[in-house]
């Protein structure tokens, strides 16, 4: 599972950083850092975070190009 946050949309509501603190982190008051390749044990939390993001900025999906041969 991979994620990317559209940081143009993100307004630092930090819901993600509360709900999945090992994946999303506020750096200073509102700069968001995150781990793009989500560890197995964090997936449920990340799902919760993505749903909770008030501006729907978190995109969750399988790694792009997984079908690369």
């Amino acid at each position: 599972m991979n994620i990317v946050v559209d940081l143009n949309r993100c307004q630092a509501y930090a819901q993600c950083a509360f709900l999945a603190p090992e994946v999303f982190e506020l750096h200073g008051e509102e700069a968001l850092l995150y781990v793009p390749a989500v560890p197995e044990d964090q997936q449920e939390r990340v799902h919760r975070a993505a749903v909770a993001c008030p501006v729907q900025a978190i995109l969750v999906g399988g790694a792009a190009g997984a079908d690369v041969r």
């Binding site: 968001l32 793009p36 041969r69």
Partner: protein, 454 residues
């Protein structure tokens, strides 16, 4: 979508952000034909912004920024092989391995690469880096992990500033050399550049503006650099952050309007040929595109921004499978962000398209503020530093061409709303080149620099 457009062969050259999002949109919109993605990097699509942030901070490995898929694309991926040319008449893309890939419609999404250090021998010194790809980031991150004595960052645009910030956070000594008068001045103008310079200094960056690196020194291994003011810097790592070069050389013989400023296209992402005639089967998106924007006087602009790559790819893909009247223009207001020294900088509009600025909210002193840019009495951009939640308001003002300066009344406007010159320098004086290139005629800001009564 008409049946004819739903089928056929589409080739996307450049398998990164824009290429991937375009491919997904094509399938979303019902394209059922064959889809080929060509990319010269060996990796599946990954995200670049984390390379200068999470990766250099050591939070994420350089190989760990893969992009998520929005949906399966059912494509043939040709990775690790460059496209070397296009035959627009025979409708074929030539690849470096000798292969030819036929197409009915082509999308060019080859982006940019880091501008190299001009002296190849010096650039080859061990310890000299650029930062554009995950391989670049892997090499640089490894050096930072090893704890260098000092890192020299050449160029104080966004990438250079973010690199300096990551180093300082890891307590690595940093010298930043910028030819212009301050960091970020080329993108944000004088007012915020002063804030940026203060951030560098407060975080212990040895910031040297108005000077240039004239040579990199070393014997196989980098030992330092010589500056135009005669001084020297001792450093075992140097990062060349002099901006980007558009990947258009492979199109030299294509007959398309492709050159150092990008591949020119119309508002619907269709490429122009060298005679200025719009093509109907070649499209462009992302960092490599140069397109007219109605909000900015239909000047041709090129935006090296993540958000533009995504939005433009979606429009290009839509138009590739839509008949004339159903095509859409790419009109999105440009937006970007940068995070450095624990600050979140966000921009809407085009700050360089301006003659004046005001601090509309917050204060320069606290480095929490919103700055609004105007051009000839109209709001053209706004930039927030740690004030992202207000930016929507200004985006709306830009979209509705609201008068500049913005109406007063903000609760947290502490400074009086006095417009200042926006002080966007000519790109020629910068180390790093502009990340937004207004490649038409520049607005003549000199007119307002001389204002009676100040």
């Amino acid at each position: 979508m008409s049946g004819e457009l739903r089928d056929g062969r589409i080739v996307v050259v450049g398998a990164s952000l824009a290429g991937l999002r375009a491919a997904e949109t094509l399938r979303d919109e019902g394209f059922e034909g064959s889809l080929t993605l060509v990319g010269d990097e060996p990796h599946p699509p990954y995200d670049r912004p984390p390379l200068s942030k999470q990766v250099l901070l050591g939070r994420v490995p350089a190989t760990g920024t893969g992009l998520p898929a929005r949906r399966p694309v059912d494509a043939q991926w040709k990775l690790g092989v460059a496209a070397t040319g296009v035959d627009g008449i025979g409708k074929r893309v030539f690849l470096a391995n000798g292969e030819e890939v036929p197409y009915d419609r082509l999308l060019i999404a080859t982006g940019t690469r880091a501008r190299p250090w001009p002296n190849p021998a010096e650039a080859a010194l061990d310890g000299v880096f650029a930062l554009r790809t995950s391989d670049d980031a892997a090499g640089l991150a490894e050096r930072l992990d090893a704890g260098p004595r000092r890192v020299l960052v050449i160029g104080a645009g966004f990438t250079g500033s973010e690199i300096a910030s990551a180093c300082r956070e890891r307590d690595i000594p940093v010298t930043v050399v910028e030819r212009g008068p301050a960091p970020l001045v080329g993108a944000l103008g004088g007012t915020l550049a002063a804030v940026a310079a203060e951030m560098h200094r407060r975080h212990g960056v040895d910031l040297r503006c108005g000077v240039q690196v004239t040579s990199l020194e070393g014997d196989g291994r980098l030992t330092g650099a010589r500056l135009s003011d005669g001084s020297t810097v001792e450093a075992d790592v140097a990062v060349v952050a002099l901006g980007a070069v558009r990947n258009t050389e492979w199109l030299a013989e294509s007959g398309l309007a492709a050159g150092p400023r990008g591949v020119t296209c119309d508002a619907g992402c269709r490429a122009f040929n060298m005679y200025g005639i719009v093509t109907d089967d070649v499209f462009v998106a992302g960092d490599v595109a140069r397109f007219p924007h109605p909000l900015f006087g239909y000047q041709l602009i090129a935006l090296e921004h993540w958000g533009n790559a995504v939005a433009q790819a979606e429009v290009a893909a839509h138009n590739m499978v839509s008949a004339g009247p159903f095509r859409r223009p790419h009109l999105a207001v440009p937006t970007f962000w940068s995070s450095q020294f624990g600050h979140n900088i966000k921009s809407v509009g085009v700050p360089t398209y301006s003659d004046q600025v005001v601090v509309a909210q917050g204060s320069l002193r606290e480095a929490r503020l919103v700055v609004v840019y105007g051009y000839k009495g109209r709001i053209t951009a706004a930039v927030s530093v740690n004030r992202a939640k207000w930016l929507d308001y200004y985006q709306n003002l830009i979209e509705t061409a609201a008068p500049f300066p913005p109406e007063p009344g903000a609760a947290d406007r502490t400074a009086p709303m006095i417009p200042l010159p926006s002080d966007v320098p000519d790109p020629a004086v910068l180390s790093h080149g502009p990340t937004v290139a207004l490649t038409g005629h520049l607005p003549d800001r000199r007119l307002t620099l001389v204002r009676p009564g100040g």
